[in-house]
Symmetry: C2
Subunit: 440 residues, 2 copies
């Protein structure tokens, strides 16, 4: 199970030296009081994990109740100039074979190797803490069950909302609540792009390019801008909300492409903003889960969540509304969440931390029946037809100096009815339609 090594620096690593030196009794005593940790993947988040444990060492050890030591770092590369370079190994089996490694941070990303290593670690009774939303969304309940079978834990605070504590509040704090709805701004890249468009009037392509230059957006931005990232995150939150498994592949997902500066002009006139929302709502026995850009009212607490910040808005049947706000991405915030999981695992060595996420599939509501208001733009000459098709309850919004078009806010109608009506006026429609999220 060697992973290919790009840079085969052949020197004895600290981990290797330690394995071959069994004589130092005093050192061994110290190690017995120490929890060894392995980090899989020494990229942005992985190196952040090492940095957080080092920088806040005293405090982290105090909170964990034991001294934590990053003993192994698994990566394809060597890092000879890194202060932790001597801990780098290339063979996962080395980590698996070390009984003193109790906690593994999986910060590799992806599903292939990450899945394989996670499953093997859990089978060996080693807890795994991850920032890997793809893997959690795809195999969460299976890995949680595997962990519990082997008296260890699979924790994933960093997989949603970066540094915002949200998984633990749902699992440990809102325990007396029936969660009725979760609405999140869960992707920093798209929120940055939309905020820039809103406050600077810039167009989508310009802002995306700037975001790529600043490192806020990937060179291939599809996972962010098409909503796939937010989709996986809301699948995780939905699953915790329902206690069943919400399959991310079945969540209706629309991205932000096609949202333009003109849309923000209408939004402003309506005292609203446009945000990519990931939504999960109780709908009788079913669950409504979707990702889409929405117009939201300025009175909604999510309205003020700008730039790279994320937030999760939760409605419970006793508490009512609460919101969790913070940095949804970034090296140290995400790493801090991983380390909070490490501390939780350290406090619970050999004990299972409760997490209700069954493998039973949650039934999702077909969005066709969901009722709300919609917004769209039309050529002004088609207004009579629009009134005929959508009825007289529509709100017509006229921008100053733009007589050739008009914004329309529909009355409350189902997705299916809207689609049918909108098709009838499609020749006169300009741009894309938007959904509206009201303050209830």
């Amino acid at each position: 199970m060697n992973i290919p090594t790009k840079n085969k620096t052949v020197r004895q690593s600290r981990a290797e030296r330690s394995a071959g030196n069994g004589n130092a009794v005093c050192r061994r005593r110290k190690e017995e009081k120490m929890i060894k940790i392995a980090v899989l993947g020494y990229g942005t988040v992985g190196s952040g994990v090492v940095e957080v444990i080092e920088k806040n060492k005293e405090l982290v050890n105090k909170k964990a109740g034991e001294e934590l030591e990053v003993t192994y770092i698994l990566d394809l590369l060597d890092f000879p100039d890194d202060p932790y370079g001597d801990r780098v190994v290339h063979d996962f089996d080395r980590i698996l074979a070390d009984d003193q490694v109790k906690i593994i941070c999986e910060t590799m990303g992806g599903v292939g190797k990450a899945y394989e290593f996670t499953a093997k670690a859990l089978e060996a009774g080693k807890s795994v803490c991850t920032s890997n939303k793809e893997l959690v969304a795809a195999h969460g309940p299976e890995l949680i069950r595997l962990a519990h079978t082997h008296n260890c834990n699979y924790l994933f605070e960093a997989s949603v909302g970066g540094g915002i504590p949200i998984i633990r509040p749902l699992n440990y704090s809102l325990t007396a609540e029936r969660i009725q709805a979760i609405t999140g701004i869960l992707n920093g890249t798209t929120n940055y792009i939309l905020s820039k468009m809103e406050y600077e009037g810039a167009d989508y392509d310009t802002v995306l390019k700037e975001a790529q230059e600043k490192g806020y957006a990937e060179r291939n931005p599809e996972a962010d801008v098409e909503g796939y990232d937010a989709c996986r995150k809301i699948a995780i939150l939905s699953s915790l909300m329902t206690g069943k498994n919400v399959d991310y592949r079945k969540i209706y997902t629309e991205g932000i492409t096609g949202v333009g500066p003109r849309d923000f002009e209408y939004a402003k006139k309506l005292d609203m903003s446009i945000k990519l929302l990931a939504v999960s709502k109780e709908a009788g026995e079913k669950t409504l889960a979707m990702v889409s850009p929405f117009l939201i009212d300025s009175a909604h607490p999510l309205h003020m969540v700008n730039g790279v910040f994320n937030a999760v808005f939760v409605r419970g049947n006793m508490l009512g509304d609460s919101m969790y706000y913070g940095r949804g991405a970034g090296k140290l915030p995400t790493a801090s969440a991983v380390v909070s999981d490490v501390i939780d695992c350290a406090r619970h060595i050999g004990k299972v931390i409760m997490c209700f996420w069954d493998q039973e599939e949650a039934e999702l509501l077909d969005i066709d029946s969901v009722r709300r208001r919609f917004f769209f733009r039309v050529k002004s000459q088609a207004l009579d037809t629009v009134r005929e098709v959508f009825g007289n309850d529509i709100l017509e919004v006229q921008l100053d100096g733009v007589p050739e078009e008009c914004g329309i806010v529909t009355s409350v109608m189902s997705e299916a009815d809207f689609a049918e009506c909108h098709k009838k006026i499609s020749d006169a429609a300009i741009g894309r339609r938007l959904r509206m999220e009201a303050v209830e």
Copy 2:
């Protein structure tokens, strides 16, 4: 240890019947799988606790891992028409003597009896969950230690921020963070009053009277409007931030009296709002803790926290800023937080839940040395003197149609220097001065 009974209905309560009937083997088996709970004080929060446990029964039991039953309700009164009336007892010793009672909810308030009962419960190994911020602020570290000595827990999620999960996020989630600052809107009554003044231009007395009529403010509103309530809450948060004990009696506290509609006109002109903030900040080896009305910028996330909502803004050295928002008071939100503590206790019977709040006293910074901007109003004819005293870096704010006075924003200066300068122009000053909290 009988507490006086106002209404001595003499009838055998369910609890009494149960005590005298040891024959039903099948029932006893069931009880062995059940955790008995006692609620002390059947007022707003206490009856809310019973309601939450009843309404969300299935879910609460699932999360607790055991069936929870409210077996005793301690109160001065009887509640013959209440569905739980048969569980009411008047003698705390009855509860203490029942070994099956593992968890006690202290929702009495105050320090006298509540302190006595809590200490006795913990000494008997019964965990206590409380909404009583007075008692937690006054005896927190002592009671936590007492609990841990007896392998049980003293939890107080509901004592700060009502239903907002904040104690648990600080203790369990932000464990990898060195918390550098906590800024909270922690009192719903004052926030309601200030929001009403801001959005309706109403004056303080009118709004206070309305708040009293709606039940948002007490008949004697001193504890809220003078900041005493917020002071106890920030003492608790400060203590968790520092790990030491922050004595609430030593926290500099100013209330909202004297803030008038005119102040809000200036605030609006400055694109700011006025909020009663409870602040705790790292200041070298010391801690700055204070409660005071502040002008805050519209870009600050706390700016949008209106009405009875509360929020806690936390700055950590890795995560940066995060915020926790929700209902800071109210029967069900507060009760939901108490029940989340009950569930936590149920999951940890016989085990200590870590909480770092030592009895060692935290050293507080004398606020005289704290530097910030200030805002005050003066008669226009005194402007020359003001410029002389405060220098040329001041910002002068003129309201339309109010030529007789002027608002002044000072440069950054210490509290002591400001006080000295402000004294020099006191004859020309109008109203009270306000502190300014900047977005850093």
